[in-house]
Amino acid sequence: MINLISLEKLSDMSPEERIRFIVDEVKLGKVLVLERGLTAVEEMELIKITMAEIDNQSFVGVETPGFSISAKKRSFFNRMLRRKNPPRMMVVGPAHLLKTIRKDGKVVQAMLLTKDNLRPMREEEVEGTTEIKIDETMEEIPFSEPPPVGDEIRVSAPNGVEPPPPPEDFRKIHLDDSQIEMKKEMSSEEVEN
């Protein structure tokens, strides 16, 4: 789940409440996009609280891909007045789900880890998930083509839920007789013009 947190919501909270909110949400597995990031002091407090809450089971820490405050140069005016750059937008997520790929002053690239490349936190969590298994006897069908008409695709789910009906073939547009007549009239008018 990805939650966008507005500046208003963040401003309504004290720094301690803000950090507590972030840690609690991230521990639930949510990725938060903060309209306004944390200050350096708040980030340090976030790290401190995160370290205290790491439990080696479901929570191993936070990943915070975001724009570096220092990367944006202070203007001459701000430097003269000793004004700091305001915190910029920030993403915070569970470290086992969110991975920063690349980061410079202008682009931050992060990846949400999926089940395919995710290392399970606990083995019992993986064993308990619902998995759709495709019959091994079925020929592999590429995603770019719709399933062939008339063939039955057998899908079984371990939890006994009936699979949804196969999708309609949207490439075939079925026209009734009146629509076919209208098309003929339109094409003959185009020829006359």
């Binding site: 980030e43 340090m44 790290i47 401190k48 370290m51 220092s70």
Partner: protein
């Protein structure tokens, strides 16, 4: 918080405190303990701590007093080697990448988290910071930026140390360009390259 720190340092200059507390901070494996050992060996002929490629090897703050003298200038520092600051500690890394069993991995992870908390709490007691960055890696990670921001928020004098310049792929210029408002010294704590430059900078910045 910044005002009190600045006032404390002014009072120190006025009443000439015996020694300055200088903290070595940075991400895990940046070379903090290697640098602490280098400084300690240069001036006391004794090492400070154990180094290892395993992150979070240093899991508590270690202190040593050294007197650095260059020419006529002489300053006494209490050097504090701190645990690496990180936003995540996963025991799986110790198991998969460093061949530990699960119990040992969990123990090291717990030590690592406690070490980070201790390092953060010691920041308030420092008079100056050496912020060590691995110059072979991207310096704009959240830990480096957060540590630097906290030094500025506390009005702590800081020297950015671009370490590991002996390694291929080292790019201290990238660190200098990215943090151009701050004093930066490029060294190799392992080989001792440009340590004199660092000592000069420490005497100038922290006095």
């Amino acid at each position: 918080m910044g005002i009190f720190s600045a006032l404390r340092r002014w009072l120190f200059r006025l009443f000439k405190k015996k020694s300055l507390k200088i903290g070595l901070y940075g991400a895990p494996n940046a070379g903090k303990t290697t640098l602490a050992n280098r400084i300690s060996m240069d001036w006391t002929k004794e090492a400070m701590g154990l180094t290892s490629p395993i992150p979070h090897e240093t899991h508590e703050v270690i202190q040593k007093r050294v007197e650095i003298s260059l020419g006529k200038k002489k300053i006494t520092f209490d050097i504090f080697d701190t645990p690496g600051v990180a936003t995540k500690v996963d025991f799986h890394n110790f198991v998969e990448e460093h061949g530990m069993d699960e119990a040992e991995g969990k123990r090291r992870a717990k030590e690592g988290t406690e070490g980070v908390i201790e390092a953060i709490e010691w920041l308030d007691k420092m008079d100056g910071i050496l912020l060590i960055m691995d110059s072979t890696l991207d310096p704009f990670n959240q830990v480096n930026v957060t540590l630097l921001g906290n030094c500025k928020a506390r009005s702590l004098p800081v020297i950015i140390v671009a370490n590991k310049v002996d390694l291929e792929g080292a790019a201290p210029d990238k660190i200098k360009k990215g943090f151009d408002e701050d004093l930066m010294v490029a060294i190799s704590a392992l080989t001792g390259k440009n340590m004199k430059g660092l000592y000069k900078a420490m005497i100038k910045k922290f006095q």
